[in-house]
């Protein structure tokens, strides 16, 4: 199947209003003498206003580095090597650090994987929430307290007044993660980046946290980027899904297209290999052969070529560009596939 390349900007413009967009974002890490690890290499995606974007990838695929690059919190030896991050149309990689500080937490905020370390153990919950509020909009303790109670209610904590007098260690990991979501929401940012917010939590606590995030989203209309390695989480929570592999974009599409008609061999491989909650036709899973590549010694061309069953000559030479396969469905592959999950006889559940 051959598809005429469509510039990203045009494909994206067809969709709703875009609040955050990355354009050829590249983040590298210096490694040893003259060595460079290209952790993020030309990432393009857009986040629609009021929608949830799920970023899926394995460990080391560059999803967290992408998120941290957006907020410019990459620490040496890492550095942003190029590209643009357009937030409300403005390239926030170019603005001075001082202005960036007013964006972090205030307009774009982030929650992290480990809820046990993201709160200060020596400060009461109330102290931390009001500090977060006052750091951007100094307006006295009374107002900050009211805001804190309001935002705790947003994540389903109704006895905020009591909770605020306590310390993080008095709560379970799931509860702390909810408090952290409340803290990241206290200034009603436009964008919330959630980096594996439920990975270390149990199944029911994971569902509670995502339920809380959905509720926050429904009430405030915030746009959310959720980073996860769990296809199920992304499938249930996101509107759009972005798949990363070895620091590259692989596929980016509205959820339904990506899940029912994935075009990239890696995405297809993932969908066919993940254990399903529903009964599948075959007892054996269809596994992707091989291992993810060594990021410090990536071969030229497509990083998935080594493991790909549809590999052809151009794959080992040239990195394929992200092109439209249909509408807003973009795929970076020299040989995008025509695959339909509902016709997959091995799965038989969709």
């Amino acid at each position: 199947m051959s598809v005429a390349p469509v510039p990203i900007s045009r494909a994206a413009a067809a969709a709703d209003e875009v609040i955050l967009r990355t354009d050829e974002l590249r983040t590298y890490f210096k490694a040893g003498r003259a060595g460079v690890v290209r952790a993020v290499e030309g990432v393009n995606f857009s986040l629609r206003r009021g929608k949830v974007l799920g970023i899926i990838g394995e460990s080391g695929s560059g999803k967290s580095v992408t998120a941290r690059s957006i907020l410019r919190i990459i620490e040496p030896p890492g550095y942003i090597a190029g590209g643009r991050v357009l937030f409300k149309g403005e390239d926030i990689l170019q603005i001075p650090e001082k202005r960036m500080r007013t964006i972090r937490g205030n307009e774009i905020s982030m929650i992290f994987q480990d809820p046990t370390t993201s709160l200060n153990p020596y400060m009461t919950i109330g102290g931390q929430l009001t500090e977060a509020y006052n750091s951007h909009t100094p307006s006295g303790s009374e107002k900050a307290r009211d805001e804190a109670v309001r935002v705790l209610k947003l994540v389903g904590i109704n006895n905020g007044g009591e909770i605020m007098k306590k310390y993080p260690c008095q709560f379970s990991a799931g509860f702390r993660q909810r408090i952290f979501i409340a803290m990241s929401m206290i200034l009603y940012p436009d964008v919330l980046i959630a980096d594996e917010p439920t990975t270390s939590l149990g199944i029911t606590i994971q569902a509670e946290i995502i339920e809380a995030l959905s509720e926050v989203q429904r009430q405030t209309g915030i746009s959310i980027i959720i980073i996860t390695h769990d296809f199920g989480v992304a499938a249930q929570f996101s509107d759009d899904i972005f798949v990363m592999y070895a620091g590259r974009c692989v596929e980016f599409s509205p959820k339904r297209d990506l899940l029912t008609r994935p075009a990239h061999p890696y995405t297809i491989g993932l969908i066919r290999s993940v254990p399903l909650l529903e009964e599948r036709k075959t007892r054996r899973l269809k596994s992707i052969p091989g291992f993810p590549p060594d990021m410090s010694a990536l071969p030229p061309g497509c990083p998935f070529a080594e493991r790909c069953e549809f590999v052809g000559e151009p794959c080992r030479e040239e990195m394929p560009e992200l092109r439209a396969v249909s509408g807003a469905h973009l795929c970076a592959c020299h040989y995008p596939q025509q695959y339909n999950v509902s016709e997959d006889t091995e799965l038989g559940v969709f």
């Binding site: 394995e58 460990s59 389903g156 379970s172 799931g174 509860f175 149990g202 199944i203 029911t204 606590i205 994971q206 569902a207 509670e208 995502i210 339920e211 959905s214 390695h229 769990d230 296809f231 199920g232 989480v233 992304a234 499938a235 249930q236 929570f237 996101s238 959820k255 339904r256 899940l259 029912t260 491989g269 993932l270 969908i271 290999s273 993940v274 254990p275 399903l276 909650l277 529903e278 009964e279 599948r280 007892r283 054996r284 899973l285 269809k286 596994s287 992707i288 052969p289 291992f291 993810p292 493991r307 559940v349 969709f350």
Partner: protein, 330 residues
């Protein structure tokens, strides 16, 4: 598949484990924290039994008791029909070789200064294989079984990727030809694209060698793929135990139902099903101070006055499907 008495390789009867709670200046024993509450099960030859529960439910403590790392406070543990407590030292040695373990933390389960070859050779030396060439031959065979190239023999654990280390760990288990494998979250630390490889490999090995596997996991999707029988654990007790198909098709305990509802799935995403938790908000109760009556009642959406008064007795709702709930029949 053989059935009947002979096919049971390991069984547990009413295993419990509690720790003393000490208080005050003289560390007086003020109470008991019961972590495992009367767990019974049978593990059949060539089958997989999965133990599913959330963190803090006591799965790991149960495994530690079964492995003999901790002493049980009550109940019996039978290996091939023999009580492990009254076994002779020689019988215990034999059992320790026949029961092997795969850990979640692949890096922590290897000695950092031992090469893969040394790590694989160690259990063979301990099991009394004297000839070096014989040991080497076994090592090469097991590496072949897990699909790891002999090139890795000279590497050290940190030089392997997570998937390769888990393969090496499984190879190390297989070296002594075990009958039973305890696998504690064997794939949850692995990358998505490698999980399927390891799951398939475990199933192949099981088919080839009639291994019995006790799988401890929290991911109901992974469990569905591998397990024949599933036990759901809550606060140290098995609240529901059934053949895998019935757990997914006809779960009776409200906790099992809540777990299934909360588990993420691609299909749920396609039918626009949101995340929901059918549990009363709150945390796992303190094992030192469990609720009266039914252990689950503080989180159960169906709890009634009866649940606070009387603890439910295990009920067999259909063959081998046992539920610990007053309303299991509904």
């Amino acid at each position: 598949m053989p059935t009947g008495e002979n096919s049971v390789v390991m069984s547990c009867e009413n295993i419990s484990k509690s720790y003393p709670v000490r208080k005050g200046l003289f560390r007086r024993v003020a109470g008991q924290k019961q972590i495992v509450r009367g767990v019974s099960f049978e593990l059949e030859r060539g089958r997989t039994l999965a133990l599913v529960g959330e963190s803090g439910c006591g799965k790991t403590v149960l495994l530690r008791v079964l492995l003999g790392i901790e002493k049980n406070s009550g109940g019996r543990f039978l290996y091939r029909g023999r009580n492990t407590e009254t076994m002779s030292a020689a019988e215990q040695r034999e059992m320790r070789l026949k029961v092997q373990m795969i850990f979640q933390d692949t890096l922590g389960s290897f000695h950092p200064r031992m090469s893969v070859r040394e790590a694989l050779e160690e259990p063979l030396i301990l099991s009394g294989v004297k000839s070096g060439s014989e040991r080497m031959a076994t090592i090469e065979t097991v590496l072949g079984q897990v699909g790891l190239s002999p090139l890795y023999l000279t590497r050290y654990p940190h030089q392997l990727s997570g998937g390769q280390r888990q393969r090496a760990a499984i190879a190390r288990c297989l070296a002594v030809a075990p009958e039973i494998i305890f696998a504690d979250e064997p794939i949850s630390a692995l990358d998505v694209s490698l999980q399927a490889q390891v799951v398939n490999m475990l199933m192949d090995l099981q088919d080839d060698y009639q291994l019995s596997i006790l799988l401890v996991a929290h991911d109901l999707a992974v469990v569905r793929q591998i397990a024949d029988t599933i036990m759901i654990m809550y606060l140290g007790a098995i609240v529901e135990s059934a053949p895998a198909r019935e757990i997914y098709g006809d779960a009776r305990h409200p906790y099992t139902q809540a777990l299934l509802q909360a588990a993420p799935s691609i299909k749920k995403g396609l039918t626009d099903e949101n995340f929901t938790v059918h549990l009363k908000p709150g945390d796992l109760p303190d094992p030192a101070n469990p609720p009266s009556g039914c252990l689950f009642r503080t989180r159960c959406v169906r709890a009634t006055a009866l649940c606070a008064e009387a603890a439910p007795a295990p009920r067999e709702v259909s063959p081998k499907h046992v539920v610990l709930c007053h309303f299991a029949q509904e």
